[in-house]
Amino acid sequence: MNAHITNFVISAFLLSGALTAFPAQAATATAMVSAEIISPAEVAIIAAEELHKWADSGVFTLRIASASGTISKRGEEEIRVMTLSSIWAQGNQIVMSTTDSPPQALRILTLASSDASFGMNSILSNGQGVNLFVTHAEEINGKGTVYAIIAYN
């Protein structure tokens, strides 16, 4: 009986040794993960290429995102002085053509209805070909607003 017990113990010991001799082994590494949520109040550019400030007649300072169609956090946007060569209405948009260097494609401002003062809606509804002159624009709460536009043919 004792011999059987001894055999059993030794067998278990050898079997466990055989199994641990060829295990699948593993290696592990850990990486950090991060994300930053920005408060809407901290977002400077609501829509890319939105007019923020006006400096002089025909010269506008625009804050635009560093890449077209993207949105930047306040303070990280690109600031560029652009010379306005022409501006006109197109549907519900104001299209600006600039002559800054290097030449930029047409800048398109989409006006919200709240910005459409001084008969803007009626002017914009006339469609293409309407010449506009921006007389006053300023930044409020990080969002550019066009206040007055005079249209003349």
Partner: protein, 172 residues
């Protein structure tokens, strides 16, 4: 005639076990290598406005970022995590004979910012050598890229969220 019976005689089943054990020991060469995995880049979801809530996903293979729901992505740095898997010879034995390994599923995690949190799920791993989620060494190394999906709640509190995850590779 005197017959001697040893009190330590070995039973037949035990002799068989010993034979199997010694056969395996002799027939299988000792493992002369091990794998290592090193983290090279963290997983960065970048900056965004949570809005009404939604998801931000980093694609494992190309690192592209996309959003759903009310999330507005901001112009910022984002990237998939990157790891390097290598076979390291313990003796002067070539690792080139070893090519395969498996990648364990990556467990979901939670990013935290104080008492606020966001879950990160759907981790996906991309092996540069295999072009899919199967691990494959080439020249003794492989590069793994890891993406995942982050879920932000409605008006998720602004701030910097962080966490960590682990990738485990299993090799023969």
């Amino acid at each position: 005639m005197t017959t001697y019976v040893s009190r330590y005689r070995i039973a037949a089943p035990f002799r068989l076990l010993m034979a199997i054990f010694f056969f395996m020991t002799l027939a299988t060469p000792a493992k002369a290598y091990h794998y290592s995995i090193v983290n090279n880049d963290s997983l960065v979801f970048g900056s965004f406005v949570a809005g009404t809530g939604g998801t931000v996903t980093i694609n494992a293979s190309n690192g592209a970022r996309s959003a759903t729901g009310g999330v507005t992505l901001l112009n910022s740095t984002y990237r998939q995590a990157r790891f390097t898997v290598s076979c390291v010879p313990d003796l002067i034995i070539d690792c080139l004979l070893v090519t395969g390994y498996s990648i364990d599923p990556v467990a979901d995690i939670v990013l935290t910012n104080g008492a606020n949190s966001m879950p990160v799920t759907n981790f996906s791993v991309y092996s540069v050598n295999s072009g899919n989620s199967s691990g494959q060494l080439s020249g003794g190394t492989d590069s793994l890229k890891v993406g995942a999906k982050l879920t932000a709640g409605n008006n998720q509190s602004p701030g910097y969220y962080s966490g960590s995850f682990s990738v485990t590779v299993t090799y023969p």
